[in-house]
Amino acid sequence: MTVEKQVELNEVDTITVKFAGDSGDGIQLTGDQFGNTTAFAGNDFATFPDFPSEIRAPLGTTYGVSSYQIQFAAKDIYTPGDTPEVLVCFNPAALKVNLDVVNKGGLIIVNEDEFTDKNLKKAGFDGNPLDPTSETLKDFRVHKIPITTLTLQALDEMDMGHGDKLRCKNFLALGVVSWLFSRPLEPIEKFLNKKFGKKPQVLEANLKVLHAGFNICDTMEIFPIMYKVPPAKLEPGTYRNINGSLATSYGLLVASQKIDIPIVFSGYPITPASEILHTLAALKQFDVAAIQTEDEIAAVTMALGAAYAGKLGITGSSGPGIALKVEAINLAVMTELPLIIFDFMRSGISTGMPTKTEQGDLLMSLYGRPSDSYLIVLAPSSASDCFWISIEAVRLATKYMTPVIVLSEGFLINSSEPWKIPDIDNIPEMKAPFRINPEGYLPYKRNKETLARDWVKIGTPGLEHTIGGLEKTNETGNITQDPENHDLMTRLRYEKTQKVGNDIPDIEIIGDKDADLLLVGWGSTLGSMRAAMEVVQASGKKVAMINIRYLNPLPKNLGDILRSFKKVVVVELNLGHLNMIIRSKFMIDTAFLGRVTGQPIPVTEMIEFINKELDSLKEH
């Protein structure tokens, strides 16, 4: 690309861009495509799609605004960015809800065609903020582009309906931002060719509009500035863009292949868990039975029936559905079957804010079942980590014959990042631990090392037995109400999960091991914690952090790590679940930063908190 005009080329390290508009404006698609060009340009990036729970909220309303934020950089980054430097607004409502979040001095691109009296009123503006006399946007650099008009002009000669033409306007915007960030158009063209290959007219229209958007920036000199973010120095290898939902599904497929046991995944639709069911339902060629059941209880019990039969029985849901599964999960604990449950946490309680994220189910996963009921709890820390956690869930469930809950998050499911594609040949095989020898078989006889009972494929000759929810005698499995036996079995079930502690990696400290302050988190907070830590470190202070992926049992070295710091700061998207566990298990004082806004904790807020805690250490 050659730029002949007097445009300043601004090379920056990192930048955050946000697209916002009506949910019908194709914001998510626009964001995804911009993400692809970012990947193509070799930047590291992290994305945050955020949408209303209404499928098609009334047009032009503030509550119907859908958005897609992406941070990309010439270095490693960990979050989709707190506040955008560039905001692309498709209508007044999108401007209204995002005015507070754009950086002062930031660049705002608006589709000025949409700033009609009617739309302004719907968005709750008094007067038009684009008027030269308006004060509303005085702190920003505003670029008005008649996106709708330009789209229609570009398609003037095409014989297609007005509505169909309008539908192309997000690609005009994409052309504009591609120019602004010195991006090639090839990846988007490739995508369009693939998507609309069979509809030549739609393809032609979108390509036309895309190029029109790009070219008007050249010819109309809309922007006095262009940005360039040089490629990041990522580890060498082949990369792709991955979101948590694909990573989770792929991890399960790899695990299924490595252990050579097919998957039965049963679920009942719920945001945001449905994504996994959709993905697996379309991948039947990998011997996956993906079943939509009549409710969540049927989903978990069907998966349990599959686990009983000798298959990988897996189910997934979110808050309201997880609540329904509890009794069946306890049956899995009691019958010691390798059921895997994914909880894609969303903002609760009850229906809450279905499309928003939260970490509110930790205590429920650990303790939210009747009686002394223990199982393994894991939590992925990033979109790509969902892949590895899926494999680990299969390994541990089948090796220890116990249910595993994977505490995933709505945020992880939807967000994406560059992923160095692993060589799956290097992922170790797993042993399917099926018992076939009838000699000396007892249903509840345990492996000495793992305390796991034998897994029997139902139908194996000579191993007939009955299991169930009633308490049974250790080893023989005969039902009994013997008091001492119940005490023993309760302890054995507990100890079995504790044995897993010998089989999981130690936690590694990130940052300054000799710091006084340790940040502790789990799940998706890894990104913002890391970003905050690096900012504080850059100011010459020392900070360390850990992310706990194994929440039950906890890694063995956790206590020693916690005790070796003067100050422990726990960070969570809840009011203190892990914080409570750490305080009670290790009896140490902690400081706590918890937010339940449905959004990741802003890095700036975390930095402030860390600095405050560091200052308080100095005073002592």
Binding site: T238, L463, G468
Partner: protein, 337 residues
């Protein structure tokens, strides 16, 4: 497998476990247990090829008394568990034992969906019109006005109609029988097994302790022949001790006619287990004005859930080679040097 060698192969006692049944003396669950074991011996498959899955209730203790594979699960959920099992191992003969409370109250939703899903399960619903295990509360099939622990002034709700529920849910095999008809019960169980698809067997089972005599009006040996009509495909709908009564077409319902024994009139309806109209009319027979139907009410063929799931997997495999590496590396990739 020929039936001849099968008969030599297995005895009913081969399907008995070492555990002593703990039902109350006089409970008809014993009779059903024996019938199931007899049917399995006749079916002629070894114990490891059968699995019995149950919910919670007196009836659901069943698997412990069988020498087959067994899973005593949680209240109301035997059906989806059994479906997961059958889906995972279609070779197994999967039997589900459930009660009127287990199957039609707490598990009612699963029953509807299991019946329309048509997995090859054999559902045995023990209907004693009471909650036995929890000591005598009313169940969804308790007769309206029945006085019991939770309804000292009588129950208020209209009872569930099990056959109607099964018909409306699209069940492909529906049978009704009383535990007192030992031989017929065995026959029905074998037919339920032979049916490919979900078989729903509604069994009247007397609870000796909390609802004794609930079915006396039509199961008592003295009078039962006058109050039951044997339903058999291709056979006339006749009943009575002397086989002197029969059903003829009335206005939207059956009318009862009497005739001289052995002289069956031409207008007696010949039953057709595939005819939706007859199926509906036979289930509408209301005791005591009409006899209670016993036998196979409905039997039709339909695609089987687990078969179609398998077929789709095979189809997908033909269409897309299952190449994990390719899948993971699909889409837009880029090299970092």
């Amino acid at each position: 497998m020929s039936t001849e060698t099968n008969q030599i192969k297995y005895k009913a006692t081969d399907f008995k476990s070492a555990a002593e049944p703990r039902w109350c003396p006089g409970c008809e669950d014993y009779a059903i247990l024996k019938a199931v074991q007899t049917a399995m011996a006749k079916i002629g498959r070894p114990t490891h090829e059968h699995a019995v899955v149950s919910g919670i209730g007196c009836s659901s203790r069943f698997p412990y008394y069988m020498s087959t594979y067994g899973f005593h699960t949680i209240h109301g959920r035997a059906l989806p568990i059994a479906t997961g099992l059958k889906l995972s191992n279609p070779e197994l003969a999967v039997w589900v034992v459930t009660g009127d409370g287990d199957g039609m109250s707490i598990g009612g939703n699963h029953l509807i969906h299991a019946l329309r899903r048509n997995s090859d399960l054999n559902i045995l619903l023990f209907n004693n019109r009471i909650y036995g295990l929890t000591k005598g509360q009313y169940s969804p099939t308790s007769v309206k006005g029945m006085v019991n622990k939770t309804a000292p002034y009588g129950t208020i709700e209209t009872p569930v109609d099990p056959l109607g529920l099964a018909i409306e849910s699209g069940a492909t095999f529906i049978a009704q029988i009383s535990a007192t008809y030992v031989k017929e019960l065995v026959d029905v169980l074998i037919e339920a097994y032979n049916h490919k698809g979900t078989s729903f067997v509604h069994i009247y089972q007397n609870c000796y302790i909390y609802n004794n005599g609930a079915f006396d009006g039509f199961t008592n040996r003295e009078i039962r022949d006058d109050n039951n009509v044997k339903v058999e495909h291709g056979k006339p709908l006749i009943f009575g001790k002397e086989l002197n009564k029969g059903l003829v077409m009335g206005y939207g319902k059956f009318d009862i006619v009497e005739f001289e024994p052995n002289k069956i009139p031409d207008n007696i309806v010949i039953y057709d287990e595939t005819d939706p109209v007859l199926i509906k009319m036979i289930k509408d027979l209301e005791f005591p004005d009409s006899p209670v139907p016993m036998g196979i009410i409905k039997r039709v063929e339909a695609p089987i859930f687990e078969d179609v799931v398998r077929e789709q997997i095979t189809m997908a495999k033909d269409k897309f080679k299952p190449d994990l590496k390719k899948l993971i590396e699909a889409g837009d990739t880029w090299e970092v040097k």
